[in-house]
């Protein structure tokens, strides 16, 4: 059964129709990369999956729960299983790195403070930032901040991870360290949906690449196929521009 099932998803901002009819099923342990020109709706699609954007019509099911029509209380519950990593990191500046990571599990009373801190330290080890546990986010580089943000999302033990252009705000020399953490995560079997401009990452890590343009999924397939032998003219044009 699919982890994430998107059916006939439409999203408009006022007059502007950003997502026109999206159908997508993501399986457990699958890594999906969403590519496409800016303004094509790929971030909006991602944000509809955890209801940061409210779909205009259609359904988004995660783990069998329809998040589009759910009550606020249920949405909060569903979101606990959907991790999200943002382009701008969005770490909480008034908390230390460790507090950032243990904050949600403790505040939602899912773990005791001690349990959460132990888990946070474990996660920091995973993203190779153990020594930064007690510093504040502003003292970290962009790449380090993004790795903490990944650890923060993982602290909720999510079933699915959403990445919204996680390396777009980074200096070039820091892109690699973040992508490496994501690669490790993919290898461990995390279900991941990644909006990205990193074609190398998509080629190497994705099980399936989705090309979105103008609110539609134009083409999708395994990376060798989509990058090696794109069929649609718009895909070809886009790849010619970015590769």
């Amino acid at each position: 059964m699919g982890k994430v099932k998107i059916k006939n998803l439409k999203k408009s901002f006022g007059e502007l129709e950003v997502l026109k009819d999206i159908n997508l099923e993501v399986c457990e342990r699958e890594v999906i990369c969403i590519i496409g020109p800016s303004g094509s709706g790929k971030s909006t699609l991602l944000r509809c999956i955890n209801a940061l954007e409210v779909a205009t019509s259609g359904t988004v099911e995660v783990d069998g729960n329809d998040i589009t029509g759910a009550a606020d209380k249920d949405i909060n519950k569903y979101r606990q299983n959907i991790g999200m990593v943002f382009q701008q990191f969005n770490l909480f500046p008034h908390m230390t790195v460790l507090e950032n990571i243990s904050f949600a599990p403790v505040t939602l009373k899912l773990k005791s403070k001690q349990e959460a801190n132990e888990k946070a330290l474990k996660l920091l080890r995973r993203v190779d930032l153990e020594e930064k546990a007690n510093v504040y986010p502003e003292q970290l580089s962009g790449g380090q901040q993004q790795r903490v943000a990944i650890a923060r999302a993982l602290a909720m033990d999510p079933d699915v991870m959403l990445f919204d252009e996680p390396t777009s705000a980074l200096d070039p020399e820091m892109v690699g360290e973040v992508l490496n953490v994501m690669k490790k995560l993919a290898k461990e079997g995390m279900t991941m949906i990644v909006v990205t401009h990193e074609m190398g990452f998509a080629r190497e890590v994705a099980d399936r690449v989705i090309f979105i343009d103008d609110g539609f999924i134009v083409e999708q397939g395994p990376p060798q196929e989509l990058f090696g032998a794109p069929k649609n003219e718009r895909t070809i044009n886009f790849l010619n521009m970015v590769l």
């Binding site: 909060n76 979101r79 943002f86 909480f92 949600a104 505040t107």
Partner: protein, 221 residues
């Protein structure tokens, strides 16, 4: 009589007046803080009707003079409802409502100054709006609001002097009563002014210290 002599002679009365000023300020600011937070939160609500309530309140407070507000609450409302309101209560209500309106705007500005991504990050972790607001947004907002909050405290402290007009014996009214006996207007108003000045300077110093302490992580390293 010289100023030092006047100070010595009237010391206990002046001090009582100052105590009343400080008491009015503190009580009013506590109530105003709650009103400000409440209406500030309403004004950033997604619901239009809630925003409208906050807007009306803030507009009324800002659109009318404090003196008129004091008269309305001390004379107007009791006349309409046939009740009696003592001056201190009326004064506290007036100052609370007044400062509450300005504080609501300060809270709104503080909350809106926090990057939208902070709320989204908190919500994406599964936190309900209320927890995201109280644990993520407000702690950051209060930090950015600190200078404006302190400014409002000082304004409210000075605004207590307007309440002398409805007969509250705070510092200004005390000064007037003393002058009514000894006619030494220059000396007495100098003393009163210096007393206001000193207490506000003390407040300013304390607030500067708080402000420094509140910047993230910096002071702790």
């Amino acid at each position: 009589m010289s100023i030092p002599e006047l100070v010595v002679q009237n010391w206990s009365r002046l001090l009582a007046g100052l105590a009343m000023t400080v008491e009015l300020t503190i009580i009013s600011l506590i109530i105003a803080g709650m009103l400000g937070l409440l209406f500030g939160l309403l004004s950033v609500s997604k619901k239009k009707s809630l925003r409208a309530i906050a807007l009306v309140y803030v507009d009324i407070v800002r659109g009318t003079p404090l003196l008129v507000q004091a008269f309305f609450i001390y004379f107007g409302i009791p006349a309409a409802l046939g009740i009696r309101l003592d001056a201190n209560t009326a004064g506290i209500i007036t100052l609370s409502l007044n400062a509450g309106g300005y504080l609501a705007e300060i809270f709104r500005g503080g909350i809106e100054s926090i990057n939208k991504g902070q709320m989204e990050a908190a919500r994406s972790l599964g936190l309900p709006y209320s927890l995201a607001m109280t644990k993520v947004i407000l702690p950051q907002a209060v930090r950015t609001m600190t200078p404006a909050l302190i400014n409002q405290c000082i304004i409210t402290l000075k605004d207590t002097s307007i309440l002398s007009i409805i007969g509250i014996q705070e510092l200004t009214q005390t000064g007037r009563l003393i002058i009514a006996n000894n006619y030494q207007a220059f000396e007495m108003w100098t003393i009163v002014a210096v007393m206001y000045f000193i207490i506000i300077m003390i407040l300013t110093k304390i607030s500067k210290r708080i402000e420094r302490k509140m910047s993230y992580g910096k002071s702790e390293n």
